[in-house]
Every structure is written in C-alpha cells, then in structure tokens.
C-alpha cells in the first residue's frame, strides 16, 4: 500500500489556499521521508485532471454516472472514488496489478460508509480540522489495520467484493417463528421500550463461518425500511473479519487495533505467551487482553471484590470503584453457584452497565443511521450490543431515550432477550446434514440482501498455517493498554496457558463448535485460578485454528458446500477465477434494465460456474464438474415440462442445483 488521500477540490478558492482541499494524506511508507505538500497537491491535481478528463467522454445520465476510476500505471495503480459530491478518496497501491480493482473499491467504499455511520457525512463537518481529525481517527485506522493484514483484502469472497453495498443474511432455518413474536411482543411493543427502541437486529456470527457460511449473517431485523442496515451489518462483519471476532466489547467499542509486534519499543506487552506457548497462534495469545474486561465483569459478579478488581481500581486512579450496576438476573440470586451455561454466554457487550471508567463507546455506540428512504436526513441513534452465544443483538435506540441508563430496565431487557433468543436457539433446525455439491451466492438487488454458501475465507487462518512462532501481529486495546499490561503481566502464567493448550489439542472434534459450553464448564470446574476462568471464557468460541484442525481431521466434515473442504490456497485461487468471470459481467454491455444475461462457464480445472444477472437479482452458482457424477456418466434425463424456458442453463448444472433452485423459487 502506498498512500490514501481524501480531498475536496471545492474547498479552496485562492491559489495560496490550495492546501485546504487536501483533507487527509496518509502514507503507508513507514520509513520514507515525508512527502512535501506540493507533491501531494500536484498528485491530487493530476487525479482531479484524470477525473475531469474521463468525464469529457461520458454524458452522465440518470442511470449511469462515474463512481470509481481505476488508473493503472506500470506497477502501481490509483483508485479514486467519489464519496460524496466533491469529496474524493484516492488510494495508491503497488500490487503489480494482479487483483481486480473491485477488491480495493470495496474497502474504500466500506471505510467511508463506516466513517459516515460513526461521524456523519463529510459535508456536515463545519470545521475542516475537525474532519481531518476524524478521518485520521477512523479512516486511517481502518486502513492501517488492513495494511497489516492485506490478506484480509484478498481473502474476501467475491460476493463481498462485488456486492459491497449489500449484506449477507443468515439462512438459519427455524421450526417456528415464536422467537420473533416473543421479541416483538415483549420487547419492541413493550410499554417501556415502545417509544425508544427503533429496531433490533439479530445476527448470528458463528466462529465456523468457514464451514457453515449459510448460517452466518443477519438473522432478521424488525423494521422494514432500515436503509443503513447493510452498513451496520457490514461493519459487524468487518470487525469479525479483521479482529477475529466481533463478539467482544473492545472490538465493538472500536478500541482494538492490530499492532505489528516489535515495531514499538515502548510497548513491552506480553512476551510471556510467546515464549511459553511456542507454537500457539497469535490471537490465542492476545485474546485474553481484549477480553479482560469481559472477564472482569463476570468475575466481579461471581466473587465480589477480588484482586483483579483491586488491581483495576489502583490503575484507574480513583476514577471510582467497581459499580454495582452489573447484575445479571440469573446470578443475583445465586452468586458463585449459578448455572454456567447461562452466565457465560449472554449479556450486554456494549451497554451503560459497563464500568464507569471505561470510555463512552463501551456504554453505547452513537451511529448515524437512516430509517426511511423518503426522509433523506439520516439521524443519530444510540446502539447497545447484546449477545447470546454466537448471536449478537444490536438494539437501536432513539438518541433521546434515557431509559437505557436505568440498570433495572437493562436487566429486564436482558432477560427478555435471553428468553427470545433461547427460543430461537431451540427452534433452529440443524440443516447441516448433507454437504451440498455446489455453492451459490444470490443477491437481491432491491433489498441488498446476499444469500450465499460460499465459504468465508479467513485471513487469520493463513497466518495460523504459517510459522506461528514469528507471528508479527497482535491485538491491542487502545487507551487501556496500561491497565491490561499490568493485569496480564502479573497474572498470566504458563500454567494458565497450558490449560488452554489442552483445550486446543488436536483431538478436538467438531463437537467443539456445537457444544462449546460443556468444555467451557468442565474447564471451569477444574479451575481454581481465576484467570483461568477469564481465559476459558474465551474458549467458548473455539479458535479458528481449532476449527481448521477439526476439519482437517475429519475428512467427511459436513460443510455447507463442497467448497468448505478445500484448502485455503485453493479457495483463494478459485476466488480470483470467480472474480475474473464476474468481471466479464461487469464489462458486458447488455442493457441492464431490461435484459437478463446468463453465463455458464466451464473451465478445464473443474470449475463450473453459472452467473445470471437480471434487473432484480444476481445468481451465482459454483460447482466442480470433476466430482459431479453427471459429467462422468451420461445423463440424458433432461428438463421437465413447464419451467423449461427459465431454467435452461440452471438445469444443466445438475439435479441438486435444480432442486435447490426450485425450492428457492417456491419459497418466494
């Protein structure tokens, strides 16, 4: 990565004022000399020139307007996106032009839409400096993290890349909709909440998205016209992607960032895990840090005042002792002896119940969201996050709703959510019996919803596969590093780590995914060390490494599709193939409003890919024709009657695809 720049050419009028147009220029070249302002400005000028130049050849119409420009140089490339009228972002990268620019466009657009969700549109900033500061604070950090794990960019599957303004929905099958009714009646329509609670978005973010991608994503929300839903969802997915899990207070609060280990000398944080753990992967070693506060919450609940709280108090310099706000309905009656399965796996991640000393973003997130397409002005809302196992509920409150500061209200909310989501959990039908011989991705253009069984390629897995002893990255929690360092350096000992190691032993089966709690609980029982408690708490989400191991160990693993058993390299390769094929659609001149273009591509490496693109939806189906029986033994049974016309290409993909397609259409 070379640099990233945000500018607005309309921000200056005088020649001497030229610097004003440049809102942000961040160079990723760490050790190079600072670039003189003049050079930056002339680069911006040239990019502007290119932008204007291309517009000479294009009469903008209502339906088509230049959005992005990709400029290829010999080695590098410049990608420019118009974020808002007159506000541009340009990204320079030197990747040898081997990836389609859609990879970067997706990141650029997302980083902006997240920024906008956090701080509002750029044009709403009155002070230029204020905007620059905010951009530095958010946009630069976004790209800084990406710069450290560029694999994250390339390992996104193509549905995320090309459909970046849409979001994935979970295809969780439930036996009944009782849980929805429960949420509606008990929470949304509740007298207390009715006025203040705008929406609840329920996500399932399982840790095994690699193998069961169908389940991953938004389960549902309850408002029909939530325009910003895709931004919010993608933001969660992004956190999940970069920081390994979105189900953490720190990650959700935006306080976690990646750090290249050893680059900062004043940062002597835990070397212990590295030395003692040896081959443990890095995020196992560092997750305890990011989870410390979660752990403390619970520890505090269980045992009252203890050494950690004391430690924290000391560090916090008298900012106030532990509040008693934390009170979980189930535990208040039987502290210390409560049922583990309840206590460890649900609760607020971001709520006013968090410790007072924590920054504001731990109490609520304030986002600008849009709820109606007619009402053009998006408004500010306060968001609380609540989780149950791997379900995440985002509660969106009107900004002036003060009840969220009432602990008893939150307590009751917690119990109601718990009840509803438990019903959901119990009504889920486990559909992972058979591995499908194909993978699909469907984009509904109107609702921006993506359904896909393409595996989520995980950038972290790649690192895990590498030489883990030299893991260069770790997670840090901004601002409260000191506290954490104090805690961890004092308390973590090799003993604790070995106990984790035993959990992650290769003998782990896929059972871990389905029943992590038992492991958790059993570990808990044996543990006299409170820190073990904290750590084992983490393991309720088995690491992806464990996942990989288990999937490798069991060759007949039940993934959602045949792709789930592929190795990472193969997946990445496949992904690039797919992107290339999909680029063909992007290049096509067919009239997008009225014509439907379908494509069936069969490559000699086994890829059989079907893409159909109409004005309402995009369907992509992927298959391996090597393994498909139909291609080895001649099959003449063809085409029923009736829907012959519609499905001519789809039916040639085989009966399994055909029946999936028919089912799908019947549901609609």
């Amino acid at each position: 990565m070379d640099f990233i720049a945000v500018y607005n050419p309309k921000l200056y009028t005088l020649e001497t004022d030229a610097w004003r147009q440049l809102l942000l220029y961040h160079s990723f070249q760490e050790h190079s000399e600072p670039i003189p302002l003049n050079e930056k400005l002339s680069l911006i000028g040239i990019i502007q020139g290119i932008w204007q130049f291309t517009h000479n050849f294009n009469v903008p119409t209502a339906s088509s307007k230049v959005k992005y420009i990709d400029t290829h140089l010999g080695n590098g490339r410049l990608i420019t996106v118009e974020l808002e009228p007159d506000y541009f972002i340009t990204f320079g990268i030197n990747d040898g032009n081997q990836y389609p620019c859609s990879y970067y466009i997706r990141e650029l657009c997302q980083s902006y839409s997240f920024f906008r969700m956090h701080f509002g549109p750029m044009s709403s900033f009155k002070e230029r400096n204020e905007l620059t500061n905010r951009l530095n604070e958010y946009l630069v950090m976004y790209w800084y993290d990406l710069n450290l794990i560029p694999e994250a960019i390339y390992s996104s599957n193509f549905a995320n890349i090309f459909w970046h303004d849409s979001f994935k929905v979970s295809e969780l099958k439930t036996s009944n909709s009782a849980w929805e009714t429960s949420i509606k009646n008990n929470i949304l329509l509740d007298d207390d909440t009715f006025l203040g609670l705008k929406d609840i978005c329920v996500y399932k973010l399982p840790r095994d998205g690699h193998r069961h991608p169908k389940k991953y994503g938004l389960v549902r929300n309850f408002t029909t016209n939530f325009e910003s839903l895709s931004t919010l969802s993608n933001w969660l997915y992004h956190l999940d992607r970069i920081f390994d899990s979105a189900l953490s207070s720190h990650v959700l609060a935006g306080h976690v960032h990646l750090l290249r280990q050893g680059t900062r000398e004043e940062d002597p944080t835990i070397d212990v895990p590295e030395t003692t753990m040896g081959t443990k992967i890095w995020h196992n070693a560092t997750l305890p840090i990011s989870m410390t506060y979660d752990a403390i919450n619970e520890v505090g609940n269980l045992t009252g005042i203890n050494t950690f709280m004391n430690g924290l108090n000391t560090i916090a310099n008298g900012l106030g002792s532990i509040t008693n706000k934390i009170g979980w309905p189930n535990t208040s009656t039987e502290p210390g002896g409560r049922n583990r399965s309840d206590s460890t796996t649900h609760g607020f991640l971001i709520s006013p119940l968090s410790l007072d000393i924590l920054p504001e973003s731990y109490h609520f997130r304030r986002f600008q969201l849009q709820f109606s397409s007619l009402n053009t002005q998006p408004e500010w809302y306060k968001l609380l996050f609540w989780h149950f196992k791997d379900y995440l509920c985002v509660l969106i409150f009107n900004e002036d709703f003060t009840k969220i500061w009432d602990p008893s209200y939150l307590e009751s909310l917690d119990s109601k959510l718990y009840k509803s989501i438990s019903i959901l959990e119990n009504s889920v039908i486990d559909t992972t019996v058979d591995t499908e011989g194909f993978a699909y991705a469907v984009l509904d253009k109107e609702s921006h919803r993506i359904q896909t069984s393409l595996p989520m390629i995980q950038c972290h897995a790649e690192e895990a596969a590498g030489d883990t002893s030299q893991m260069p990255l770790k997670l840090v929690v901004n601002g409260i590093d000191d506290a954490l360092q104090y805690l961890t350096s004092n308390t973590i000992n090799s003993n604790a780590w070995t106990s984790i190691a035993s959990i992650y032993s290769p003998s782990i089966s896929s059972e871990v995914t389905t029943k992590p709690l038992q492991k958790d609980a059993s570990d808990q029982k044996n543990s006299s060390n409170l820190w073990k408690l904290g750590l084992s708490r983490l393991t309720s989400f088995p690491s992806r490494e464990a996942q990989d191991k288990s999937s490798k160990g069991t060759s007949t693993a039940n993934g959602d599709s045949f792709l789930c058993t592929l190795s990472l390299d193969k997946l990445l390769e496949l992904n690039i193939d797919l992107c290339k094929i999909y680029m063909g659609i992007q290049n096509s001149e067919y009239r997008r409003d009225s014509v439907k273009e379908e494509k069936l591509v069969k490559l000699s490496n086994g890829v059989l890919c079907y893409i159909s693109n109409s004005s309402s939806e995009v369907v992509v189906i992927l298959k391996n024709w090597f393994t498909d029986e139909r291609f080895s033994k001649k099959n003449n049974c063809n085409i029923g009657t009736g829907k012959f016309e519609e499905t001519i290409l789809i039916s040639s993909l085989g009966n399994d695809v055909r029946s999936w397609w028919d089912n799908r259409n019947n549901q609609d």
Binding site: S42, L43, I46, G49, I50, F53, T54, N56, F57, V59, T61, S64, V66, K67, Y68, I69, D70, T71, H72, L73, G74, N75, G76, P100, I105, D165, K580, I581, G584, I585, Q586, N587, S588, E589, Y590, R591, R592, S594, V595, K596, E597, E598, K599, L600, V601, K602, L603, S604, N605, V607, S614, S615, S616, N638, G642, E645, E646, I648, L649, S652
Partner: protein
C-alpha cells in the same frame, strides 16, 4: 531506373517523384499511380455506399421458402413450438429461420424480397435482436462510443478519430500533462489504462500506448478488453510506421522534439487512419479481433496448382528480387502466400497490407498497377520494402469491370482480388511486373481465376449444426479463422458485438484465457421473470397475442432469447451465435462439436496450411 528516390529522403519527394514518373513515363509506366492522388480518387462519401444490392439470394430464398413451407404446413402450430428446437427439426432450412421472419406475413416477405433485390435502400430484416445498450451519440463536441487519439510525446496533436478539433486539442493537452506527470514523478511510472465504473459495472476504458515519439489513446464504451485495445492501438501505430518508417520518425523527432507530424502526413494518410479506425469500430474484420486471417476456401489441389503457377512464374526472377508473393481475395481473405524458406509475415503486417489494398487501391482502374514503398513494421520497422500490386482479371464470367457484387456481405466495399509482390529492391519493378504478368496469364489459362475472383463462403447449412445462426472458428495452428456466409440482412455490427461478448466469456480483462480450455454459454433474454407467462397459462396464447399486437418492435424487444457459445481449447477457438429462441443447450453443444469436427475435417480446404516456398 531512377524512379522513386529513396523513401528515407522524405515522403513528399517520393510521391512527387512517382507522380512525375507517371507524367514522363513510357507506355508501361502510365498505369503506375501515385498514392497521393488516391485521396482525390476516393472521396470519403463514396466510401460509405449503402448496401446497393442484395448480394446473395440464397439466404433470402431460404427464408422465403421455409416460411412458405412452414406456414402452409403448420398454420395452427404455435410460433413458439416452431421456434423451439426439436430433434426432428434438423433440416437446415428450418434452422435458418429467424423469429422476425416468422412474424412477417408472406406478402411482406415477398415485398421485402423484391424490394431488396431491386432497390438500393431497403430496410433490412433484423435477424438479430440487440440486447446491448446504445451509447449516447448526440454529444456535439465528442461523439461517444469510441475514440482514438494520437499525439506526439511533446503533446502536439496528430490525429483524432472524431470530435471537434479545438475540443480534442484541449483533451490532448490533458492527456499529455497526465502522462508526463507520471513519467516525471518519483516512481517513473507509465500510464497504462484508466477504467471508469458506475454502480453497475464498467463504463469506459482508456488505454494508452506510449511509444518513443508518439502517444496513442483509445477510449471505448464497449466491451473490449485492455489487451484488445492495446492491439488496436498497435495497429494504428503500425500504420504510422508503415507509412513513415521508424527510422524516419526517429530522425524527424530527434531533430526537433516538438515537431508537428501532421505536416508530414498526407491527406491519404489521414484518410487511411480514418478507415482503419472505422473498420475497428464497426468490427468489419473479425480477424482483427481474433488476431487471425481469413482464407478463401479452396480445394487442396487447386491451392497446389496456384502454388505451382506462382513458383513457375518467378523462376526467371533474379535472386533476391522477390521477398513475398501474396494473392488476396476480397474481404481481406488470403488465397496464397509465396515466401522464402524460413520467413513468414506477421499477421499485423498482412492486415495493414490488406487494408491498404482495400482503402487506397480499390478505386484504381482495374488494369492499373501500383509500385509503392511500404514499411512492414513487424518485419523491419526501420526500412522499406517495395510492393507491386496488380489486380487479377475477373476470370471467364463478367465484363472487365464486373467483379461480381460491389459490396461484400458485411457491407464492405468489395475489393478486387489483388496480386501483391514484395521486393526488398526498389529497382525491381519491371522484373516483378514480368513475373506478375506470367502469373496472371497462367492463372487465367488454367481456369483457376474464378475461384479467386468470386470466392464464396460455405453457408451454415453446409454443416450439420442445427440452431446455429453464425459462427467463427479460429484454428490456432494456422492463425486463421473461418466463418460461414452471412445473409445480406445480418446486422453485422450487432453480430460482432455478440462475438466480442462471447470472447469476453472465455478471456479475462488482460486477454488471458480463463483456463486451458473454457466452455462458456451466454444467454441474453429480455423477458424478466415477472413478465414471463404465468405457469398456468399456455405459451401459445401469449405469443399469439404478441403477434396480434401487430407491433413487430414489441415482439422483437420482448421476445429476445439469444444464446451464444464460446469454446476455447489449446487447438481452436469457436464462437457461435444461435438463432433467437434456440435454447436447447445440448443441441447447441452437439452443433458446436459438429462444427469443430467439420472444420478439422476440412482444414486443408478452409485454411492455407502450406505456402509456396522458394
């Protein structure tokens, strides 16, 4: 022989000398024409003749008869059934049917027929529905769609395909600034492409070709890969080289960097550039897209005899007088090549040579000869070779000026078949003329000429390929392609657009194939799901309604269901476009197999597999 002073001394001199030779020349030289005078011979408006005559009656009759048969036999049959493939429908006539033809009633087809046979301006049937977006062409300063710009490295304009001069000059200034910026900036980068996107996908592509003294830019709104645009720019650049030679270009610019090349180019150069650009835009020559040549279909024995005749005729030539000999048929189609052992001509060079014949020489009198220096950029960009052109006599049938039809099936002006002899020596005109005369005489005597002067393509009906409307088969071994006869009513540019989309289904944006072998089906259908006939309802009813709606346009737009296939293998590439409404994938695949088998079987007839080597 003191004619045609060395080309290196300057083109203007060259032409003048040629012209003056013409004046003072003897009996023989009277026929030598100067190229500078060609522009006046061929004013641009004559280049765009409308299709003046229906060229081939076969296809039209096909429609005519088959419709007749169909409507009388199966009046009650639903149109859809007729169009939908069924195994019995293998008679080629039926497969050749287009849906539009069906929508006509008999009378109108008859009208159409007589009309098209006798009048100049008839409305062509639209056999091919067009699923592609149309570009906005109403912009005054700069027509959209496609644009080529050529400028010097110093930013001086050389050529622009269209647009108002002042406007384009401004653009060239910007291009110059942008390119220079990247070249001079820290990393010394070279601007390659700019791609713009809207939310749906790619809008435009700009591709730059940075040569030492010349910068070329292509802009397209169409589905063309970066590689293809590069090839187009290379063709234009090669043309500049072929007319100026690299050595001269270097000399001119080394003298003065901001030299204005326009002053050095003649009117016919600009005319030729215009013609090249236009041919590229209209996709006149599929060979340019495929990087291949098309040949005249000949029996192997006839080709052998041509080779023998060619070789016999040059026996008396002094050693080194002849480098290449080429017989070229209309439509840029190659008949035979004569070459020294171990030498071949680059496809680009041949393409340029052929378009030169097409653009510059076709308005010459058919008994004129031309002797002209040409630089073959891929052969040797620094020097000139000397080309002798002679039109072949029209054979037995027809009068002296009648070469069959004046336009080809693609709407190209029909070029007279030409004999081209290429010499490295500028003084060999008379020797070559002698050899050429012998050659044409022998060809005439042997009765081979009609095969060359009036070559026919095979038709799609010659191959058992039901449902296929048209195809292009490229043999990688010979770097040649074949395609069947198109009917005079084919919308050529739409057909080519189908092909370019099919091509992009097997190649990625950089022009590399997606894999070693790729098989792609592409389908364009205009009925969206909501508009489809409800399942309970009979298709027949709906289509009947459509017909009764007496809006042909409506039917065409709504009833589009086009199927195409692209097949890329290590040995061949096959692209085929099916008839509207033909959606039986297995049948199409079978047809494709038949085509590739047929082409393989007849490869010696379809392709020039060996040349006359001396």
């Amino acid at each position: 022989m003191h004619r045609a002073g060395s080309k290196e001394e300057g083109r203007g001199d060259d032409h003048r000398e040629l012209a003056s030779q013409q004046q003072r020349g003897g009996r023989r030289l009277r026929s030598v024409a100067s190229l500078t005078s060609l522009k006046s011979l061929s004013p641009p408006q004559t280049m765009n003749w409308p299709i003046s005559k229906a060229t081939i009656s076969v296809d039209l009759t096909n429609h005519f008869t088959s419709t007749l048969v169909r409507s009388s036999l199966a009046d009650q049959e639903s149109l859809y059934e007729r169009l939908s493939p069924s195994p019995q429908n293998v008679e080629p006539n039926v497969e050749g049917l287009s849906s539009e033809a069906m929508t006509y009633d008999l009378l109108s087809i008859q009208d159409e027929l007589t009309h098209s046979l006798h009048s100049v301006a008839y409305v062509p049937l639209r056999e091919l529905p067009n699923p592609f977006r149309r570009t906005v062409e109403n912009c005054k300063e700069l027509p959209q769609g496609k644009q080529f710009l050529i400028l010097t490295s110093a930013g001086k304009p050389i050529y622009s395909m269209n647009g108002q001069d002042e406007y384009v000059m401004g653009l060239m200034g910007i291009v110059h600034t942008i390119i220079n910026y990247f070249q001079l900036s820290g990393q010394k980068e070279c601007l390659k492409t700019i791609t713009t996107f809207d939310t749906n996908g790619v809008l435009q592509k700009f591709t730059f070709l940075n040569k030492r003294h010349v910068v070329l830019l292509a802009m397209t709104n169409y589905n063309e890969t970066d590689l293809k645009l590069q090839q187009q720019l290379d063709l234009l650049y090669s043309y500049l080289i072929s007319t100026l030679s690299l050595r001269q270009l270097n000399r001119l610019f080394n003298k003065r960097e901001n030299f204005d090349l326009r002053s050095h180019l003649t009117g016919s150069d600009f005319h030729n550039l215009d013609q090249l650009c236009q041919s590229i835009c209209l996709g006149k020559h599929p060979g340019w897209m495929l990087g291949a040549l098309e040949c005249v279909t000949l029996k192997k024995s006839i080709r052998q005899r041509i080779h023998t005749i060619m070789l016999q005729s040059i026996r008396d030539l002094p050693v080194g007088a002849l480098l290449y000999g080429i017989i070229m048929a209309p439509d840029h189609r190659l008949v035979s090549v004569m070459r020294p052992k171990g030498h071949t001509l680059h496809t680009t060079d041949l393409q340029l040579l052929f378009s030169m014949v097409e653009n510059q020489l076709q308005f010459l009198d058919s008994n004129q000869e031309v002797w002209v220096p040409v630089c073959f950029p891929k052969f040797n960009g620094n020097g000139f070779l000397y080309c002798y052109f002679k039109f072949l006599p029209p054979g037995f049938i027809g009068t002296a000026n009648n070469y069959g039809n004046a336009t080809t099936l693609e709407g190209n002006e029909r070029v007279k078949p030409t004999l081209i002899l290429i010499s490295p020596q500028k003084n060999s005109f008379y020797e070559l003329q002698q050899a050429a005369n012998t050659m044409t005489d022998n060809l005439t005597i042997s009765g081979i000429l009609p095969h060359i002067t009036n070559p026919s393509r095979f038709t799609i009906n010659d191959i058992p390929a039901p449902l296929v409307h048209h195809f292009i088969y490229k043999s990688k071994k010979y770097v040649q392609y074949v395609m069947p006869e198109t009917s005079s009513v084919t919308d050529w540019s739409t057909l080519m657009k189908y092909y370019s989309h099919l091509k992009s289904a097997v190649f990625d944006n950089n022009g590399t194939p997606l894999n070693k072998t790729v098989l792609s089906f592409v389908r364009w259908s205009a009925l969206s799901d909501e508009d489809r006939p409800p399942k309970s309802r009979n298709n027949e009813l709906l289509l009947q309604e459509d017909l009764n709606a007496d809006s042909r346009e409506f039917f065409i737009e709504e009833g589009m269901d086009m199927f195409g296939m692209a097949w890329f293998t290590p040995s061949f590439e096959l692209y085929l476009v099916c008839n509207n409404g033909a959606v039986d994938r297995n049948m199409i695949l079978k047809s494709a197999r038949n085509i590739s088998r047929w082409c393989k079987l007849n490869e010696h007839r379809l392709f020039v597999s060996d040349s006359a080597v001396f």
